[in-house]
Amino acid sequence: MKRLIRCLLLLLACCVGQQAFAVGVVHIGDGDCAALEALVRVQPGQEPALIVLSRNGRFGCGTLEVNGNIEIDAQGATLVELANSSVSTAPSGIVVNAGATLTLRNAVIGFPPQGLASVTQASIPAPGPKFCCVITSTAIVNSGSLTLDSVTLTGMYYRDGLGAFVLGLIGNSGHLVMRNVSAIDNSYTGNLPALLANTGAVEISQSTFVTGSSNYTQALFSSDGSGVIRIGNSIVANNGYAAAPACASGSGRIVSLGGNVSTDSSCGFDAANDRVVADLRALDLADHGGVVPTLALNYDSPAIKNGLAANCEAVDARGLSRKGGACDSGAYEVAGGNGRISATGMSGLFFNPENNGHYVSIQRLFGNQVLVIWNTFDKNGVPAWVYGVGSLIGGIVRIAVDPVAQNVGGTLQPGGNVVGAKAVAWGAMEVTFDNCYSALLRYASPLPEFGSGETRLTRLAFVDGVDCAY
């Protein structure tokens, strides 16, 4: 039997066919366009197992032409053209030929806000930011299969000027998949009918397309011929000063899978949880903990929990897990990852608005431990701060803190030292959460100046990074 297994493996290795993937993981050094261009251009059967770009690197390359099956983990690197000081005659930035496949992950295409990568405003060549100097073709041309996953396209500028013949950002006639993609503040005045001009098949999931008022943009999407764009759990807002609709009228179809938030009705989204809003209540496009920048949502964004559960991706563009019941529309999940109230989401500052003037600070520690500090007074009006590390009790979100200590006898010395403080047993506390915003503190102390009682608590502040999700 063992011999049989060996034979089977040998047969698979030696007799069945050629060794297709000639090399394993190939790491590309920062800015090494020659290596990158050569590697993505290889013929089928010669592809590497994976191409990994230098973390946060910058690649001002010519055309990345894909002929085989290529997967790139960009590790937050930026694909951008910096070499030319004027519009050049370079062809498209990315070309996926018919029959080829490109999967691009964790990449920034264009010009992110300052500080996200080592791209500065001063380094952006005139006449403005652009990706790979598009004149005679579209920036990204897909005739095969292109998957953009956790990719941010931002700060790109297309125009027909200087005698140039500018087409647009993405022209798709193959299969295009966009997952957790952010296309933020790109300007476009080209001749294609939209930022994404489609005659093939496009699937968009949990992506954010937003153009701010300082950018000129024609439509974001157009679908012509037999083209179909299917879009779900996404944000579509064309607020550029071109006063163009989000979706251009075309002969193809744009099909909503539900859970979309848009700022106009031009796309005809009419599935469950599709809604038109006046204000997305978005925050900044920045590093929010992932490897590519994302457009964060404010706490009151209509996109929060607007996604259809059936179409929720497991993670957002930062890799943080999305909420289980109803996820947020777009590429950014508020409180993704750590925000459960039963976990780190409980951390923060709480008070009683009806009895303002005393505060409870809750800090979730490792394991099932929680630090609770109550800054209050005793019945004689003496300030008091009592504290303890409690444990979470299963079933409901409850913290039992026993014992609670009070430090007494301390004296502040001139200069900053405190001497003489010692911890004495004070009693016990218990905090029970109703939800992310509301809790009840119960306490019991044998000290007559405290006694026992309870007070309702309302959240006063969230801790950044562990915002409470559910």
């Binding site: 066919g17 897990s321 780190t344 301390g410």
Partner: protein, 458 residues
Amino acid sequence: MKTFISAILLVAALVADNAGAAGIVRIANGDCSALGAAAAAAPGAEPSLILLANGGSYPPCVLNVTGNIAIDGNGADFNLPAVPFTDIPQVAIAAGARLSMRHLTLSYSPAPGTSTKTPKIGSVFAGPPAIVNAGTLVLESVAIPDDAVFGYVSISGAWRHFMGNTGRVVLRNVTIKEVYDANNGQVADFTGLLSGNVEISHATIVTSKPFANLFGAGAISVANSIVIAPGTAICNPAVPHANFVSLGGNIVSDAACGFNARNDRLAGDAHFLDFGLHGSITPTLALNYDSPAIGNGLAANCEAADARGLSRGTTHCDAGAYEVGGGNGKLSSTGMSGLYFNAANNGHYVSIQKLFADQALVIWNTFDEQGVPAWLYGVGTIGGNQIHVPQVAQNVGGKLHEGGSVDVSTPTLWGSFDVTLSDCYNATLTYSSPLPEFGSGSTTLQRLAFLDGVNCAR
């Protein structure tokens, strides 16, 4: 012009030999037949992506890959039993083919008819390995837990091995915990859990089992990983390891096979915490604050993200699949949140809670020079590693009433704070108050507690 261009694109669409024939294929929870069919797509007809059900569970499915297949597990369990489900490999990648699996747990189930994970000796037919790779297999952010028992247990009886690899295997941010591929040394192809051409980066591979060599023969490279096997040799001593390469940054329980590159360190205990989700969709082995793996990775080989997708440190990263403080843990950001005290003057505490944008809440629980307890607080502005709180308040006049209410408490202006954080563990609080019972001064601070989820990453 627009019509003309659209027409060009349309023609291109019709003419194209379209490789990605099916775009995204979503596989319903547990639907093995659909998954097997999608994975078996012939070259040129593969879907762009196979997407499993979010958090789904898949029984032993048979995957025969001949093309270029990418599976995003979406946090699902893909069952990989130790006893052959059939007499063929459960996952087979043909020469020339490629299978990429992400965000997946290769869960384990005991053999049919057994109720425990104890190896059954003496009667089980030994089929081919669970995974037979003759092409390219990329596992990324995949967990393989827990007490999964593979391999030969005795000469008379056998379970199948975990993997037979004659192609190329890439492991990135993979966690393999207590996967047991027992080896009796009789079959050269199966000299360890992983053998052949294997590239390992930021993996956590841990076993406490005896007779469970992790690495067999072959060209194996390991970077920024944790490989702990205190009960056995990491590399099977019965086979040569001339082609073994350490790329450094590893925490290992023995160095016999050549872990002698920069930042390779011996440690019998990596100081793990629990094996859980930790904010992600596939489980990871978290590191305790004192783990030798923290900051041990070589910067040149640091992956951008850990197995949870959280960004790693740029100047330092942790060895293994889990990054302490990944994502938000920069000291100048949320990493500053936590509790601090002065170890030399214990008895007063400073809480720092990073809020949104550039704001931070600072609370000092202390006493005044008359020995009266005081708690002082304010929201300041962060600039680099400093917090400036220009207006610190002290609530005065409050009184606790029976039952729990507090009234008449009024905030009064107390003074100002400046907190300077020199690293994740050390800071200085400088204060200034016009109130004579406080005055001005400073106190050094040491970290007393980390907040879960935003642990400090440096």
